[in-house]
């Protein structure tokens, strides 16, 4: 609802200059944002494109830039994302269903709600510290893929809960009432009516949350992802590295060649992220329209 609809735009002589100046400044700010995005992405492509190849994806890390690849980092990231999805989706959606469909609207619910929105604003590195204290030390999972994935689960949980709640809230009450009227129990109503109807929204939220997890490096470093892991993780207790951490390590080196490697790694990461987002858009587009109330 912008004021364009009112179309009361006046061009009185008074204040025409300030009007013009202000509009141009605001437009300039917008263009700065767009231009920055283009320059940043262009820069990465220029730096990394010569180094990106199938070999690069299949090689192990190495001290020599021309022999280095991202195999272990890529597999590490896949492990982490898979496990994180396994833990965070049931937990997150379950919590959202409880809050929206079951919880009595009292003070406790308000408190939990407030708590979740605050958790969404906690810096991810603090989750890393929690993971270090809880999973790595107290539960003695050590610097394993499992510790990493559990930590990432905590990072994305608030995002999944908030997105799922939003999706559940968009299902109109008439659906629930008609199910109850047919004699369905609460869980039957949720499982057969409300969840299918809100699935596109929930899926979109989950995919966005997981793409956040895919790009996250800070908590993993605190939990103890290694700089150099010559093996692909094969079990939950193996050491791991991930794409963002590999990129971080390459960027931190002074040699120019490693910066090109980092750029190539970033391209792989961005391609993964873009495809995940494309899936989210596709899901929203394809299934979002099917249900109309």
């Amino acid at each position: 609802m912008s004021s364009n609809k009112l179309d009361l735009y006046t061009t009185k002589p008074r204040g025409r200059i300030s009007n013009f100046l202000f509009t141009s400044l605001c437009f300039l700010a917008t263009m700065t944002c767009v231009l920055m995005l283009l320059v940043l992405i262009w820069n990465i492509i220029i730096q990394g494109k010569g180094w990106l190849s199938w070999d690069f994806i299949e090689r192990l890390p190495s001290r020599f830039p021309h022999k280095a690849g991202i195999k272990t980092a890529l597999y590490g990231s896949i492990w982490l994302i898979g496990l994180t999805a396994l833990f965070s989706v049931p937990l997150g959606v379950g919590a959202a269903v409880y809050l929206e469909e079951y919880a009595p609207k009292n003070r406790w619910r308000k408190l939990i709600q407030l708590n979740i929105s605050n958790l969404a604003g906690v810096p991810s590195i603090v989750y890393g510290i929690l993971g270090l204290g809880l999973f790595v030390r107290a539960l003695a999972f050590d610097r394993s893929v499992l510790s990493g994935a559990l930590t990432l689960t905590l990072v994305v949980l608030p995002i999944i809960i908030l997105a799922s709640q939003e999706a559940l809230r968009s299902v109109p009450d008439s659906i629930r009432r008609s199910a109850y009227a047919l004699g369905a129990t609460r869980w039957q109503t949720v499982w057969y009516q409300v969840l299918p109807a809100s699935l596109p929204g929930i899926m979109t939220g989950v995919i966005l949350a997981l793409s956040r997890a895919l790009g996250e490096a800070a908590p993993l470093i605190v939990v103890g992802a290694m700089a150099y892991v010559p093996f692909v993780p094969e079990s939950l207790s193996d050491e791991f590295t991930s794409l963002p951490i590999q990129i971080f390590n390459w960027t931190a080196r002074p040699q120019e060649e490693f910066h090109h490697l980092a750029a190539a790694g970033i391209l792989v990461l961005l391609i993964l992220l873009v495809s995940m987002n494309a899936i989210a858009v596709f899901v929203r587009h394809k299934y979002g329209k099917k249900i109309r109330w």
Binding site: S2, S3, L6, Y9, N19, F22, T23, L25, C26, A29, T30, C33, V34, L37, L40, N43, I44, P90, V97, Y98, Y102, A103, N115, I116, G121, P123, I125, V126, Y127, I129, L130, L132, G133, L134, R137, A179, L182, G183, A184, T185, W187, Q188, Q193, P196, G215, A217, A218, I221, V222, A227, P244, I245, I247, T251, A262, A263, I266, L269, L270, R292
Partner: protein, 318 residues
């Protein structure tokens, strides 16, 4: 609403209606209860996470403060826990964090607010449909990528303009963190600007105000508290930002406000220690938790403040 258009209301299979005294039907209260309980557990985990954060941070920090006096921690001007002699004054880390967050706000606030105003008040719907997804891309780029850009792209430019700047400098961190928090400021502020009722704009136009006056004197002031809340959230995000700052700003805890120097933030320090092999239970190891606690308290305070402001924004127009 036609029936065919309604969401497919199919009956749940065999258990749909109370039929006879099948086992499933008799057990229904039991599994309904079990499901209710397990969903409740899922929701409680969010509370447990918060408790976990506080307990873990406090538990190790308290032990830290047995070794280091809290007064030295809060007022000391040297931070060197990994060197001998050790110094545990957090002020240099605080200073670095404030420098980066302040610099990022300096970059992001004017551009962000300008963009939000343009998108909300001036842009055509078609222009918005193009620009908003682009800003979402900006928001989806991982922070380690911004770190890379700071080192490879921004820092050389800064050193070209200011030859006295070091390879690692706070300015490049400020710029990339500023770009990182831009989308957050834009989308939150734009939402708030859009929520200013049309009647307010119409009234101002009716009084003979022009577009500029309506925007600057009516719409923005009406949305001001919400806009400030969006700034607070973005700054809190900048304080907690880690990878870009670690890569760009270096690792020299220093009490300086000169953006051309290398500094260290609280988050960058935590990364630095985590990368090394600091044995559990030593004072050095516990510094992570003490610094983490300080970080957690500062971001949490800003978030709660921002949310308090935001929760009051909606009430105004009702």
């Amino acid at each position: 609403m036609e029936l065919s258009e309604a969401a497919a209301i199919k009956l749940p299979r065999s258990t749909s209606l109370e039929r006879g005294d099948g086992l499933l039907v008799r057990l229904r209260p039991v599994y309904e209860g079990l499901i209710h309980f397990s969903l409740f557990v899922c929701a409680s985990i969010s509370v447990l996470v918060t408790v976990g954060i506080v307990v873990v941070l406090l538990y190790e920090s308290v032990q830290f403060f047995f070794d280091v006096s809290i007064i030295e921690f809060l007022t000391g001007t040297r931070w060197a826990p990994l060197l001998k002699p050790q110094h545990f004054g957090i002020l240099p880390l605080m200073c670095g964090t404030i420098l980066v967050a302040g610099g990022a706000a300096f970059v992001a606030v004017p551009i962000g607010l300008g963009t939000a105003i343009y998108l909300s008040e001036y842009a055509s719907p078609r222009f918005r449909d193009v620009v908003k997804p682009m800003l979402e891309i900006l928001a989806g780029i991982p922070s380690v990528v911004y770190g890379y850009l700071a080192v490879v792209f921004v820092s050389p430019i800064i050193r070209y303009v200011f030859p006295s700047a070091g390879v690692f400098n706070a300015a490049s961190a400020c710029i990339v963190v500023g770009i990182m928090i831009l989308p957050m400021i834009i989308s939150l502020s734009e939402d708030i600007l859009q929520s200013v009722p049309l009647s307010l704009r119409g009234a101002a136009f009716a009084l003979g105000a022009n577009k500029f006056e309506v925007t600057v004197r009516v719409v923005v002031p009406a949305a001001l508290s919400g806009i400030i809340a969006s700034f607070l959230l973005a700054i809190s995000r900048a304080i907690g930002e880690t990878m870009a700052v670690t890569l760009a700003a270096g690792a020299t805890p220093k009490l300086t406000l000169n953006p051309l120097e290398s500094i260290q933030t609280m988050t960058a320090y935590i990364v630095q220690v985590s990368q090394g092999d600091t044995p559990t239970g030593t004072v050095e190891y516990r510094t992570i938790f003490a610094v983490g606690l300080t970080l957690f308290i500062s971001t949490m305070t800003m978030n709660i403040l921002a949310q308090y402001i935001l929760s009051r924004v909606g009430e105004k127009y009702e």
